[in-house]
Symmetry: C2
Subunit: 196 residues, 2 copies
C-alpha cells in the first residue's frame, strides 16, 4: 500500500486527522475503527500507529483545534473598538464560515465531544460554557447600550448557535442556495433580529 | 410482570409508543431492541407483540403523527385571514411548543426518519419537502406584500427551523431559562428579524 503522503505544509499526522474527520462524519466516531481509518488513508494499520496512537487522540486534536479557532477569533474581536452589534456580526460570520469551510471538524467537535476521555472532556465543556457566556455577555452589553433589542441573552445565544448549526442540512442538501447567499442572508436575519 | 396499563383515553398501543419514544431518545432507535422496550414497558416480550409488531411500526407511528400535527396546524393557519407575518408567528410558536411538549416524538421524527422503511420513507420526505416549501412560499408572500424584509426565503426557513430544533439543548440543560421566556424571546427574535 501507499505511504502516507502529506500536502505541502501539512504533517502526516495532519493528513491522517483530515481523513479521519471525513470518516467520522460518514460513519460516526463510535462506529469507525482504526482499521477503517488505515483503509481510508490508504496505509497498513501498523504504519498508521507510527503517527497516531488512537481514535481518541484524533478526536482530541479535532475538538481542541475547533475550540481554539473560535476562542482566538472571539478574543481578537473582543479587543477591537467596534460596537457590540458589529462584534456579534463578526462572530456570527466567523461561525458560518467555519461551518462551511471546516465543516467536518466543526461537526465532529459539536456532535462527538461526548467521546472525549477525561480530563479533556471536562476541559472542553468548560471552554464551551465560557465561550457561550462571553457571547451572552456581549449581547447583554449590546442591550444595555441600546444597540440591541431587549431579548433574553441566553435565548439569543441559543437561537444564533442553533440556526448556524443548521448549515449541516445545507451541506447534505443539493445546495440550491449559494454559500454567499446563505452567509449574507443568515447574518442579515440574525443581526437584523437583534438590532434596535 | 405487570400488564400494560393504559392511561385514560390512550390505548395500550399508544402507551407502548409513548414509552418507546423515551427509550429511542435515550438509546437511539438503532440500538434499542424490542427486548429493551418490553423491559421499559414492564411486560414480557411476547405480550408486547400482541400490540405491536416491530420497532419500525412504532417509528412510523411517531413520524407520521408528528408530520400530521404540523401539516394540520399549517393548513388551519393558512386558511385564516391573518397577514403573512402573523401566520408565520403562529407557525413558529406551534413548532416551539411541539419541541417543548412533545419533545421525544419531534426529536425522533427529526433524527431517526432515516430508519423508516419504504414506501414510508419516500412519503415522509415528500411531506417534509412540501411543508418546507409552503413555509418558504409564505415568507416569499410576506416579502412581496412588504410585511417582511427582503431575505432569501430558503435561508429564512433554514434559520427558523434550525433555531427551533436547538431547543433540544435546552431540554438537556439545567433549564435556567423558563419555557415562557424561551418561547417568547425566540418568537420575538425570529419574527422581529423578518418584520419590515
Amino acid at each position: 500500500m501507499a505511504k502516507i503522503r502529506s500536502k505541502k505544509n501539512s504533517s502526516k499526522k495532519e493528513v491522517i486527522i483530515e481523513k479521519a474527520s471525513k470518516l467520522f462524519l460518514e460513519k460516526g466516531f463510535g462506529a469507525a475503527s482504526m482499521r477503517d481509518l488505515a483503509e481510508h488513508v490508504g496505509v497498513e494499520a501498523a504504519s498508521l500507529y507510527n503517527h497516531i496512537q488512537s481514535k481518541s487522540e484524533i478526536l482530541q486534536a479535532i475538538c481542541f483545534k475547533v475550540a481554539n479557532d473560535f476562542i482566538s477569533h472571539m478574543e481578537a474581536v473582543q479587543s477591537s473598538p467596534e460596537p457590540a452589534l458589529k462584534k456579534l456580526e463578526l462572530i456570527i460570520r466567523f461561525h458560518i464560515r467555519m461551518m462551511m469551510e471546516q465543516f467536518e471538524f466543526v461537526y465532529i467537535s459539536d456532535h462527538e465531544w461526548r467521546h472525549l476521555p477525561e480530563p479533556y472532556l471536562s476541559n472542553f465543556l468548560n471552554q464551551r460554557r465560557n465561550y457561550r457566556r462571553s457571547l451572552s455577555d456581549l449581547i447583554a452589553r449590546g442591550i444595555e447600550r441600546n444597540e440591541m433589542k431587549d431579548l433574553d441573552p441566553h435565548v439569543a445565544v441559543l437561537t444564533i448557535l442553533s440556526a448556524i448549526s443548521g448549515i449541516e442540512s445545507w451541506h447534505r442538501s443539493r445546495k440550491s442556495v449559494s454559500r454567499e447567499t446563505l452567509e449574507n442572508n443568515m447574518v442579515k436575519y440574525l443581526i437584523g433580529g437583534l438590532k434596535k
